[in-house]
Symmetry: C2
Subunit: 375 residues, 2 copies
């Protein structure tokens, strides 16, 4: 494990040297989560990480006990030494490390403007960068979008557990053991927590029975309403292994469906197939998304969300897979992404089918086996 | 319900008029959550809200069906009309509303610096403000820290459910039905989801048995490890009613304790009492925090986190209750806050006691009945 974090940092350091950046600051805190912390250090959350172009990694954790157990870095300095303020920590650590004046220090791209001003003032004599395009954090997003072998291994494990749970869930819905949205969501949560390899569900499970499946993201995420009863039910969940989450959605179509419901299902399946063929290296992700939109457009329907996204340490990460002009992502080998066409109707409910796809050298491999289940 | 959102907006509009702010922009999106959206509109999440000094509220929701059901605003415009980009939406809506040139438009204080630059460019001819101190969003934080009667009612309901669940949980631990951290956490999650008044748990329940209670925030938040067995176990959870969450922590002290464990418990209880007396109007919150620190300091211990915080639509919101010079909060009537002294030891485990406190005209009222439970 130590090796992989060092290797990832070494890749970033190469980029830093080429781009004359002396220090990259990564912050994970309430309201500004950044899994790049875990990616580069192994420490899961609530800390500040400084990576220097000289190859050092300094971690300031909020919880020192947790860091001693988990972090794979060169130095751990308790955050409390800096009054737990990121600007104070960066200012004093930069001095302590001996970063030369005028150096370029790149702070997180999500730094709020008022905090940015505080950084600039505190780091007087340095060149403070806060960039979205072309900066270190865009490079980190790009790096993270291409999974290394250990990451793919984690996601494959998550996918295998996900598949087993889909099968078990189908059985329990058929047998009447799972009757409500809560039953479905908590069956998954307990299974995830109890599984020796899984940490937990990767995000809040969305369980929407026929009365709520018209919502893209039902609110609340699950209720005591019936699930798997006549009509369309949607279940969107992920299983997390070593921080990496799967992300699938299955639709349960039960009882006698309306013509409109049958039409939605066949359109979603058609769009799924049309797009999947375009999930391969060298294809712009917006092309795959356009293929889906075209299927729906011909039927005078439209999809109110993107076709997919990368998964990994976040349930949504690069690449974006949507049909928008400013989307410049291209599929590359070892990206792991979702494919999730869906249609929603206030009267007839919703239908979404989502699987996780590994982009390979020649095409793709579908990692999960989610499906539209007919009862 | 409609009335209360209008009333809250009217209060903000008064502030806006006094401070020459023409438009306040509120954004709730993945990575930048802001419950002020729900506070002012009733719409729970994933939307942009514009409040104008002329008293209009325009909502751009990601999910239009949800908005039609929930939002209490003047106008709903689908976010898709603006390519779901906040800057485009603010730019075009500002034109549509006819906001006069040179007006001051205040964007969210958490706007990342790169996005801030995009706003400034797109809103050429307007005066774009992004302020932490002295701005609209600080005023909103202040407004939200003083609860109105409807908010207190929601929190009281959440507190009552919380107390019932603490009692039920104690019974189930004693009877051996709850054996693991997962058992404890999922008992709470299911109870919350099934309760007709509760939406869900207010945040991820932290369940740490004796092997993990030394962590302030154990990671993962619960595992298959034993809970309530010999030593100190910590359970930190909240119940959400209409978006408002309680936040309590109980410690279960089981079997024969070490001298160090007994000492931790008595110090935490002593610090709790010493601080509670200072939870009253007119007292600086850092004074209450200093009283706790003093109890621990005398015993050569220290607490690695703040003494408390406000609760409401967020599990952590204003006022801050910590012993730091820059903390300027003063207790005021109708604030609802936590009091949560804790001590942690890598060998002996941790002990934390947390209850929710309503500040009244003359002092305080403890809303929840969390405690240190001896088995």
């Amino acid at each position: 494990m130590q090796m992989i974090h060092q290797k990832r940092r070494a890749d970033l350091v190469t980029w830093m040297a080429r781009n004359s950046v002396s220090v990259v600051v990564i912050e994970d805190t309430e309201g500004r989560r950044d899994p790049a912390l875990r990616y580069f250090s192994g420490h899961p959350c609530d800390a500040l990480l400084l990576i220097t172009v000289t190859g050092h990694a300094v971690l300031c954790p909020w919880d020192n006990n947790l860091a001693e157990q988990r972090a794979q870095v060169d130095v751990i300095v308790p955050y409390s030494e800096f009054g737990r303020h990121p600007v104070t920590a960066v200012q004093l650590l930069t001095e302590r490390i001996g970063v030369p004046p005028q150096s370029r220090i790149e702070i997180p791209s999500q730094t709020p403007y008022p905090l940015f001003l505080t950084y600039v003032e505190a780091l007087f004599g340095y060149n403070v960068l806060c960039r979205k395009d072309g900066g270190a954090h865009e490079e980190i997003e790009r790096m993270r979008s291409i999974k290394d072998l250990l990451e793919i291994e984690h996601i494959e494990k998550a996918a295998a557990i996900t598949d087993t749970l889909i099968d078990q869930l189908e059985k329990q819905v058929r047998s009447g053991k799972i009757k409500t949205e809560i039953d479905a969501a908590l069956f998954l949560e307990r299974s995830a927590r109890e599984h020796p390899l899984a940490e937990r569900c990767g995000f809040e499970t969305l369980a929407a029975g026929p009365s709520r499946s018209c919502f893209i993201h039902p609110f609340p995420s699950c209720t005591a309403s019936p699930f798997g009863t006549e009509g369309l039910s949607i279940l969107d969940f992920g299983i997390m292994v070593e921080g990496y989450t799967s992300d699938v959605t299955l639709t349960i179509a039960a009882g006698k469906l309306t013509t409109a419901q049958e039409k939605m299902i066949s359109l979603v399946e058609k769009a799924y197939k049309a797009s999947l063929g375009l999930y391969k290296p060298g294809i712009a992700t917006k092309e795959a998304s356009a293929a889906c939109d075209e299927v729906f457009r011909k039927a005078k329907k439209s999809m109110p969300h993107a076709l997919g996204h990368g998964i990994g340490l976040e349930p949504h990460e690069g690449p974006a897979i949507r049909n928008r002009e400013d989307n410049q992502w291209v599929f590359e080998p070892n990206m792991v992404v979702t494919l999730e066409p869906g249609l929603y109707d206030a009267v007839h409910g919703g239908c979404r089918l989502e699987n996780d796809i590994l982009i390979t050298e020649k095409g793709n491999r579908v990692l999960t086996k989610s499906r539209i289940i007919r009862l």
